[in-house]
Amino acid sequence: MNIYDPYPTTVEIDGKTIRLDLDLATVLRVIDAQDDPALTTADRLELQARLLLADGESCPESPAEQAKIIAAAMELLPAAEKSTEPRYLDFHQDAALIRSGFMRAYGIDLTRDAVHICQFLELLADLPADCALMRTIDIRRKPIPKQTKENAEQVAELMKLKAKVAIKYSEEERRQRFAESLKNSTALKG
């Protein structure tokens, strides 16, 4: 992507150009729908496709066509690195800190301003180190040093802070992480 290119808002599917809504709120709603326990697969696909299509675009009836739109839209987003490392940011848990960080650093009110998901991710990565969100992420990232007589108090304080800001994983995430760590430990032994 060139510095002067606009953020992407269209995809080409089977030779047809389709306009998308890639506002932050829309993309987060699409991601949330992925784990919504009430939705059958057919309803989830239709919902995600309808959310992503810009006003005036019609939603195809076939789930396979809807899935194509969702996949094409997700392709436009910067690829998240696959990592077994813990997450340091949660869009729901950290919502207040993200909102206040954006307001303070950029004057953007995320509850009212439409921001393209790509622009949001760029700005998020560039939030100043002294904002509450970045300080929270820093605490989550910080390794706990080996305890000695001299640092016992600091270690205890760090552990208290880590517990306070820890990301609360869902049951499903906990299961996935456990399965991944099992797989990794088996791979290491093998």
């Binding site: 709120a25 009430a38 059958t40 697969t41 989830r44 239709e46 959310l51 009212r112 439409a114 921001v115």
Partner: protein, 142 residues
């Protein structure tokens, strides 16, 4: 905006299985929250569909038969819970196909419409919320 609380959409049904002479063998209970089960049922149905396809391609394959049996159990576990599924399986002496043939009409006609209805209501609710929010959001920088 009004603060709305909706009671959990609980579905309770009973299925009675009888011996050939008409005496009651067991009563299986369905007790599910239809607002929280659409995704699990859908996934279990998809796995079952794939297992059926594999079994049709290779009817004598032990692997395909095991996968089919596991997929049937998975659907029943979601609807009846593990304990009642085990009891139903004992009643059918492990014959998955007969169990499926007998009980699937009950699942499809009595249970699935309510799950689909709850899923469609949730989909519409989320679309409404998104549409309301879209109208209020201004484009940053413009």
């Amino acid at each position: 905006m009004a603060y709305t609380i909706t009671r959990k959409n609980r579905l309770k049904e009973e299925l009675q299985l009888c011996h050939a002479d008409g005496t009651l063998a067991l009563t299986a209970t369905v007790d599910i929250n239809v607002d929280e089960i659409g995704q699990r049922v859908s996934k279990a149905y998809e796995t079952l569909g794939m297992a059926q396809n594999e079994l049709e391609k290779a009817p004598t394959s032990a692997e395909a038969m095991t996968a089919y049996g596991d997929a049937v159990i998975a659907v029943f576990n979601v609807i009846f819970g593990e304990e009642d599924t085990q009891n139903i399986l004992l009643f059918y002496e492990g014959n998955y196909s007969e169990m499926l043939l007998d009980i699937f009409p009950f699942i499809n006609d009595e249970i699935m419409p309510k799950i689909r209805e709850a899923s469609a209501a949730r989909k519409n609710q989320l679309l409404d919320l998104a549409n309301k929010s879209k109208g209020k959001r201004g484009i940053f920088g413009k």
